[in-house]
């Protein structure tokens, strides 16, 4: 008797994925949109931090002439702040030149003003640290120096952006739990639909891993699929940012978290949705 084998796509070892239907696709879409939203926020934030960083690479410290003796101790203290790259004292000649161009060539008045001007230290800043702003303020205060208020505001903005980014990382972790629960819910529907079959498999002597593996694979498939969709949906956002002149390296930093995060969420969701023993 010649019998044709059924045309079913099966996994090696006799496993078969639970049927991927509308519920699974919907779940993948919901997870993808949530991942995309998180990714878009991340890219936006990275761009903002990048923008703040390019606008504000320097901080000027002003030391009054009455505290000129504090110049070297101030420089030494600034050198101890790791985010400060270079410290440069603006020379009197440079100040004179700037004052001439600003006030005109009244040298007598200018000379008087130059002698009154504070000693100016120009510092280059790199990176971001939550304590950088406080370190700079404390150091300036300790040596009776003042800081350019506009530069300080930018530095404050940068600090807040860093705090928002940290908050976002916390939110992303919560989001991952939520997304894992969405996947869990979807897989539980799938489990419910196959409850009879799973119970039969147990009665026929199937090992637990034989029963669990297809659902774990399904969870991983939903998670990774959502990660890929979310990643592709970031591309228009990147292009839009580039079109208005904002560059970002946010996309490259998202590839790993979105793909691996999606798979991890899918796996966690599948484990949480494991069938109850009968």
């Amino acid at each position: 008797m010649a019998i044709d084998a059924p045309r079913r796509i099966r996994l090696p070892g006799g496993w078969s994925l639970p049927p991927l239907g509308r519920a699974q696709l919907l779940s993948m879409l919901v997870v993808a949109i949530a991942l995309w939203a998180a990714g878009a926020l991340w890219i936006g934030l990275q761009s903002a931090i990048h923008w703040a960083g390019t606008l504000q690479p320097t901080i000027h410290f002003y030391l009054p002439q009455s505290h000129a003796k504090q110049r070297q101790p101030l420089i030494n203290a600034l050198k101890k702040i790791p985010q400060i790259d270079t410290i440069h004292q603006v020379s009197q000649q440079e100040t004179r030149h700037w004052l001439h161009s600003w006030l005109g060539n009244n040298s007598k008045q200018n000379n008087h003003l130059i002698n009154q001007l504070p000693i100016t230290l120009q510092t280059e800043i790199h990176g971001s640290d939550p304590f950088l702003l406080d370190d700079i303020k404390d150091t300036a205060q300790r040596f009776h120096a003042s800081i350019n208020p506009d530069e300080l505001r930018l530095l404050t903005a940068r600090k807040h952006l860093t705090q928002i980014r940290n908050l976002l990382i916390g939110c992303a972790l919560l989001l991952m739990v939520g997304l894992a629960l969405i996947i869990t819910n979807t897989l539980e529907l799938s489990l419910l639909a196959r409850e009879d079959e799973l119970e039969l498999m147990r009665l026929m002597g199937a090992h637990e891993w034989f029963i669990r593996l297809p659902f774990i694979l399904e969870g991983m498939l939903i998670g990774s699929g959502a990660g890929i969709v979310a990643l592709l949906l970031q591309l228009p956002l990147i292009w839009a940012l580039q079109a208005i002149g904002i560059t970002t390296d946010g996309f490259s930093t998202l590839i790993f978290p979105l793909l691996v995060g999606g798979i991890i969420m899918g796996t966690i969701g599948a484990i949480l949705a494991q069938p109850r023993r009968t």
Partner: protein
Amino acid sequence: MIIDMQQLLTRYPSGRVALGGVNLSVSQGEFLFLIGESGAGKSTLLAMLYGALAPASGSLQVFGIDMNAAPARKISALRRRCGIIFQDHRLLFRRTVFENIALPLRVQGYPEDRMVARVGKVLEFVGLEDAIWSYPDTLSGGEQQRVAIARAMAPQPQLILADEPTGNLDRETADQVLHYLIQLQQHGSTVIIATHDLQLLEQYPARVVELHAGVVVNDSADEASHGH
């Protein structure tokens, strides 16, 4: 002995005694009818044999496995040596007959390339070779029960446990189902049938164990030994 139970006692979740001190031994290749009224404990006894229920006290050994302390791994191994036939046959109606019968084979890691041939062979045995790609709901009640028999026998189990296999069938179909089970015994399997259909007993002279309120009240093997 493939089954040996001594003073086996178990309770329903409500606390009521389901089996109260059953002593029973079954040898390899035996054909045994388990009879009794509804609620006598027939299904409970079968469920204990494949590890769905654990004994509350007493001892139960199936294929040498102590069911009082058997881990999940051993219960799975035991179930692979059993073919279970249910009264409601428990077929998967969204799967073809082939998929239903192949299920225990897949669970046991049967080679994929020999699957179709094996399923075809067992279907031939129960006279349903043409129904291999049909869905169970297109078959009659008797045919569905024959598919269930084919599914139970597909992995060539040493022990067939049938719980009211003819419960919903007409006389002629019931006799046919019994015929298949007798043939399985003649091929070397041990067959235990829980039934309240006393007409089946007239069809085939086999050992009869009668349960009443969770206790064995009559065992034809004992009667025979006393007679001798």
